[in-house]
Amino acid sequence: MEPQWSPAAFSRPHADGIECTLCPFQCVLHDNEIGRCRVRRRYGTQLESATFATSVRHVQPIERKPLYHFRPGARVLTLAAPGCTFACTYCQNYRISQFGRSAAATWNAEPVVPDEVVENASRERLCIAFSYSEPVLAAELTLALAPRAAAQGVPLLWKTNGFITRSALREVAPVLAAVNVDLKVVDEHSHRRLTAAPVAPVLDAIAEFKRAGVWLEISTPILSGVNDTDSALAELARAVRAFGADVPWHLLRTHPDYRMGALTPTHPDTLARARAIAHAEGIHYVYVERALGAEGRTTHCPSCGIAAVQRGIWSFESHTLNHGACTQCGTAIAGHW
């Protein structure tokens, strides 16, 4: 199967060719040249994208993304075309994300008809999420879904690396209901080593999503020997806290995969330590999906500590909220309940 190319937005003329303005690499492309993402190219006088397509149509709980404070228990239709702007060495999804870089990642996506996708989601009462690979590269498809999705009340969600130009973000953010942004490390050297990309645009995008009113959650893969020291975790926690105490932070367990076959799996004690550091930095909602049991998935009221929202593994179980507020003390629990 080969990619089918469609006209892309997010470009402008450049003295040396056409400049792609979607991600901060801002590739300047000559005719027939493909960008660093491997899924956008210049063809003649226009920029084209291969991502008006999807390799999957998975229906899952929203907790899988993970999004814990946005419509808990909602079901999500996940779409993903191959491709990513990052080349993360530990990527567990490399067979889809590392298209063009890894021989194991082949093109297996079929074209998407936006109206059909939205009709299906509306009929089944699903949100639509872009996940697994990089949603930024599906910005055109996201925008194509948006009018009908808005008309039918279907929320659009991204699980993204946040590597997007400010101009592109400002076009896409108004159609997104919620995003979960991966923040892997905040140290520039480590970030480049891990992802082959700078971290500053990610931090900028997180701030811009928040400013734009998109519901924001952040995920961090805890990687042994990379970001699991007390100082690295505290640095990350301070960075997350800077976006607001009420931004949920998900600490993800990682295991050896792709080019990090020697990685040691994240120990539950490390995740517990990371969670304690996050709380000490003042972050209200810190989550660990599995390794710390049900307690790791529970939302506690930041004022009185009562268990306000309880979850199973990748599922919503129950809440005691009253119009989004703690039933015991009345404190508002941030989120879209």
């Binding site: 390799s55 999957v56 998975h58 229906v59 899952q60 899988r64 993304k65 996940t78 993903a80 567990q92 999804n93 067979r95 889809i96 194991a104 996940s131 697994y132 699980k159 367990r253 295991h255 050896p256 995969d257 076959g261 040691t264 799996p265 120990h267 539950p268 004690d269 599995r290 390794a291 710390l292 049991g293 593994i313 990748w314």
Partner: protein, 69 residues
């Protein structure tokens, strides 16, 4: 060479309470059963590459796997 197929979910065979007792992630667990379609091998491992090698050795034509996120 097996063909990977992405699926929305698969059952767990390794439970979270077992993570701490296997810090190196060496545990592999498999369940083999006969289904109307043939022999089904379900595997769970912290090191997916090792599990895939095992399944390929067993002759799997398709290996279903979940994605992260």
């Amino acid at each position: 060479m097996s063909e990977p197929r992405f699926v929305p979910s698969l059952p767990d065979l390794i439970e979270p309470h077992e993570y701490a007792s296997d810090p190196g992630g060496r545990r592999v667990r498999v369940r083999i059963r006969l289904t109307p379609e043939g022999v089904e091998v379900l595997g769970d491992a912290v090191r997916p590459a090792e599990l895939e090698k095992l399944l390929e050795t067993l002759g799997a034509q398709v290996i279903e796997q979940m994605l992260c996120g």
